[in-house]
């Protein structure tokens, strides 16, 4: 069980948004009555911030099974074709508006914020990088690298008061300094994604 939890931690470390605020149904089909420390497992999962909705594949006679909430009764395989599209209700979004950094992002620093927008009140230095699940706003000179919408959000944008960037990326599509229009250098710029290419225009 400890091994399985360690694997889970490794998975969450690799992709922090994988289970983030998603409802989870736990399949206890692989657990037997002997090794089933059900209250302990529930605590371990809840301690990791998982939102356990229900359980399946557990015997109601096992100690502590009742704490897990509703069971998904029956256990009859209905087959994958019958899965209703609404099986995953959209998670209730009560996220903070975004991350605000009220100092410069220095060379060598890396800001990673999958949950939304990042706003920097100051400059992003050469050799610094900002990853945001949403858009990136820089109220200073953008000299480093920004990756907006890196969790797979093509609608994310990049805004900066002065463009001197090494690299701008949105949803994995990137453009390096050499490929940026020199007329935009030093100006207030926004960048967004149109199809498979980044479009950059001056804001002033």
């Amino acid at each position: 069980m400890d091994e399985w939890l360690a694997d889970l931690d490794a998975q969450v470390a690799r992709s922090p948004t994988f289970l983030d605020s998603k409802p989870v149904v736990v399949d206890l089909g692989g657990v037997t009555a002997n090794d089933a420390d059900l209250p302990g497992l529930l605590r371990a999962l809840k301690g990791r911030g998982l939102r356990i909705l229900a359980v399946e594949g557990a015997d109601p006679s096992w100690g502590g099974a009742a704490e897990w909430g509703h069971s998904i009764p029956g256990g009859r395989a209905t087959g994958p074709v019958d899965l209703p599209a609404a099986a995953e209700p959209p998670p209730a979004e009560a996220k903070a508006a975004g991350l605000v950094i009220d100092q410069p992002v220095r060379s060598g620093q890396s800001v990673i914020y999958p949950a939304g927008d990042v706003t920097v009140i100051g400059s992003v230095a050469s050799g610094a990088e900002v990853f945001a699940g949403g858009s990136v706003h820089v109220y200073g000179t953008l000299r480093g690298r920004v990756m907006a919408g890196f969790t797979g959000n093509p609608g994310a944008r990049v805004f900066c008061r002065r463009l001197e960037a090494e690299l701008v990326a949105i949803d994995g599509v990137y453009r390096t300094a050499d490929d940026m229009d020199t007329a935009l250098r030093g100006r207030a710029v926004q960048a967004w994604l149109e199809g498979d290419s980044i479009v950059m225009t001056a804001l002033d």
């Binding site: 220095r106 400059s123 001197e164 300094a177």
Partner: protein, 277 residues
């Protein structure tokens, strides 16, 4: 008893990049502060590549060093070397035969705490780089002087060091902000006039910390190092000497404006403007 009332200040002189003038500036600022009546110790953290003893002219008087004190082989009082020119100036030399691994976090903490009780200013001369020696030198600092040359690699390295000052120091870990000052060194007025160096304005915009002073590139600085004397002692009236004295007064809280020489936006900016650090 008057001196006891003042809180000791631990100052780290750092830069990331080597050869920009950390040791020269440590010696010059330390001597300038001592000449104004402050009790000062300059501490060499560059274990294995010590230089501060040479610049201070004390290389023949080193018996015990920082590593000896940290490892308990000598008492602090045995390792401190009092300057022959200025009474209130002392040196704690580094070891030349050891390396930075000989510095332990606990040992450094203990020595810095002990120095705080004896002096008004504890000035730590950081080694170049961002590894153990540099992080231990900045660890207990109350304020930092970031020594920078007006060129792109130095500015970027300074930016990196400022990031570390804001995250890896005791002050930062307590959630407080360290006071940081920019000391622009090896400033060549002739090249600046031709627009061949980064403009002061651009360096300040990138690093966004207050300017402590601009030290002109000068033969006096080189000469001072060679004769083993801080430039504020050997040539107090030279342009670099005066610039260091002014910087020391600003460190003590005096609101002395820094005169930024006039500069052209020249060829370097046109060629490399987009790569400004």
């Amino acid at each position: 008893m008057m001196e006891m009332a003042q809180m000791a200040k631990v100052l780290v002189v750092t830069s990331g990049k080597g050869g920009v003038g950390k040791t020269t500036s440590t010696a010059a600022l330390g001597a300038a502060l001592a000449q104004s009546g402050q009790n000062v110790v300059v501490v060499d953290f560059d274990v294995g590549l010590r230089n501060l003893d040479l610049v201070m002219g004390a290389e023949r008087r080193v018996v015990f060093d920082l590593v000896n004190v940290i490892q308990g082989d000598a008492k602090l009082a045995q390792a401190l070397i009092r300057d022959k020119r200025v009474d209130s100036l002392s040196l704690l030399p580094a070891s030349q035969t050891r390396d930075k691994d000989a510095l332990t976090p606990e040992g450094v903490a203990r020595v810095v705490a002990e120095l705080r009780e004896k002096f008004d200013w504890v000035i730590c001369d950081s080694p170049a780089g961002i590894e153990r020696g540099a992080t231990l030198a900045m660890r207990h600092a109350d304020l930092a002087v970031v020594v920078t040359n007006p060129e792109v690699s130095s500015v970027r390295d300074s930016d990196r060091i400022i990031g570390l000052l804001d995250s890896k120091t005791e002050l930062a870990e307590r959630g407080e902000r360290m006071e940081k000052f920019l000391l622009l060194t090896r400033y060549d007025a002739a090249r600046a006039a031709r627009g061949e160096m980064l403009r002061t304005e651009d360096v300040l915009e990138i690093l966004s910390i207050p300017l402590l002073g601009i030290i002109p590139e000068s033969q006096e600085v080189l000469r001072a190092s060679n004769i083993g004397s801080p430039v504020t002692l050997s040539s107090p009236d030279s342009p670099p000497g005066r610039a260091y004295f002014d910087a020391a007064r600003r460190l003590r809280g005096e609101a002395l404006p820094v005169a930024v020489p006039e500069e052209k936006r020249g060829i370097v900016h046109r060629l490399f403007g987009r790569r400004v650090a």
